[in-house]
Amino acid sequence: MTRNPTAILLAALALAFPLSLFAGQVWIDPFGPPVPNATAILMELRLPRALLALILGSGLGAAGAAMQGYLRNPLADPGLFGIAPAAALGAVLSFYTGYESQALTLPLFALVGAAGAMTLLALIAGRSGGIALFTLAGMMIASLAGALTSLAISLSPNPFALSEIVTWLMGALADRGWHEVRLAAPLTLLGLFALWRAAPALDALALGEAAARSLGVDPARLLGLMVVAIGLIVGSGVAVAGMIGFVGLMVPHFVRPFTDQRPSATLLPSALAGALLLLVADCLCRILPLQGGELRLGIALSLAGAPFFLRLLLKLRRELA
């Protein structure tokens, strides 16, 4: 068993990235006869889409690894902080107001939603830095944002807005372009940087909160880094692609057996594996022959993720028994 999955994941990404550009409704064979509009398809559709998959996947993968380290729980997920549902609520409100036609409004609304959740989290649980309180506050925010989203949907002004909302909530990378790449890339990178700064403290936390503090960890600083990192990564992800779940939950489990299990050691491999997972999943969504358009990425990952989660639960139950 290799101790360093980073090299293998990098090699796999280097292989999968160019291949993913050729796959889709129009197959492009670099050695075959020329395809009409091949340059436009590659540069304007597939390249930004593949880059978005890398950006979002790496962010969600690393965020998942960090959350599992922070909560010391292999079942944790970046969604636990309630930031994704709050960002989704923001985005849904932008549909509701009918402003979604303006390209910037939807992501901005989503980011405002994510920032709102981050502020609320900091206000509720910030001073104590207690992890249990923090998680409960996140779950409360998630259920509140979910309820408000349902309210917004039920009060939807017209059937068209309703179908827009529902379709958008099922995350996807279809029809995303350079505009979304420019929005998500810097925010996700900032979030990854915050996670990197938090990494040693996450390792110390493996020994419990008291021991971590005795090793010099400042719980309030760690909490701040986590909120900012998860907020930026998940907020920008929802802003450009809608709800994409399960990546952060699944990916750390794939890579952890190949590391020394410290949270900091799983961050980079999880980022790479998340990028690979999203790239491949989006590619499969594109080429699956499905009536009425392509399979939504968010649905595909949930379909794959839910059984995975169940298997994980059963495995943990066996270990506890």
Binding site: G69, R72, N73, P200, D203, A204, L205, A206, L207, G208, A210, A211, R213, S214, L215, G216, V217, D218, D260, Q261, R262, P263
Partner: protein, 243 residues
């Protein structure tokens, strides 16, 4: 010198003043709820006092930067939890987190700690495969890897059988002999009597007695604090408590 001056923590400790010297093993004893763990955590700088202060060589702990404090005082909590199934060497390596030293120095410190706790054959084993005694040694090695001046451990001997208790307390005595300060919360009064240089007796948040074990753990103190009529039998260093 690690000192508590009029240390009060609301509802848990009341006006505790103690002076702990390095180079010896100090045992904190007392009935359940006496405030032993609270005192230990406060001495480690992990609990903000309601009033009073903890000072390390006359500097208040609260004024030390957390990393600096972490380099000087190693602390082992009672729970002994480790969230991930780390290998022994990885666990011990976590003790280097407060240091910003190069890899070679970290490696040497970890190797030293593993050797001191006689864990070399287990260094690459996962924690889940260790016995209780091996795990206790690995957890203590993590504290040693920091190379702290002070080692504060909350019931490090609780889960161990007699032979492992003896082995571990001898290690701790060696560390004190090297000049470190060792402070332990213990439940076993005979262990404190036979192996500690200095004993603090707590009851309901107050310091009842302190001093050399034969004074602090006199039959009178035991009668008063534990409500037990007990007497010490045997020679110094091999005493047993008869009820």
């Amino acid at each position: 010198m690690l000192e508590a001056l009029g240390l009060t923590i609301a509802h848990r400790l009341h006006e505790v003043t103690v002076q702990l010297r390095s180079g010896r093993v100090t045992a904190i004893v007392g009935p359940n709820g006496a405030g032993k763990s609270t005192l230990l955590a406060a001495l480690a700088g992990l609990i903000q006092p309601t009033s009073g202060a903890v000072t390390l060589t006359s500097h208040p702990l609260t004024q030390l930067p957390p990393q600096e404090r972490a380099r000087r005082i190693g602390y082992l909590p009672q729970s002994g939890e480790v969230a991930w199934n780390l290998a022994v060497r990885t666990l011990v390596g976590l003790g280097r987190l407060p240091h910003r030293t190069d890899a070679a120095e970290n490696y040497a410190a970890v190797a030293d700690a593993i050797a001191t706790m006689q864990l070399e054959p287990l260094a690459d084993r996962a924690l889940s495969t260790l016995s209780g005694g091996e795990r206790a040694r690995a957890l203590l090695a993590r504290v040693l890897a920091t190379r702290p001046q002070w080692i504060l451990a909350d019931e490090p001997l609780a889960a161990l059988d007699l032979a492992h208790q003896q082995a571990l307390i001898r290690r701790l005595r060696d560390l004190a002999q090297e000049g470190r300060g060792v402070v332990l919360v213990v439940h076993d009064l005979a262990l404190a009597m036979n192996h500690a240089d200095h004993v603090l007796v707590l009851d309901r948040g107050r310091l009842i007695a302190q001093g050399p074990p034969q004074d602090a753990l006199s039959e009178n103190v035991i009668a008063k604090v534990w409500n037990l009529n007990a007497s010490w039998l045997g020679q110094p260093g091999h005493k047993a408590l008869a009820l």
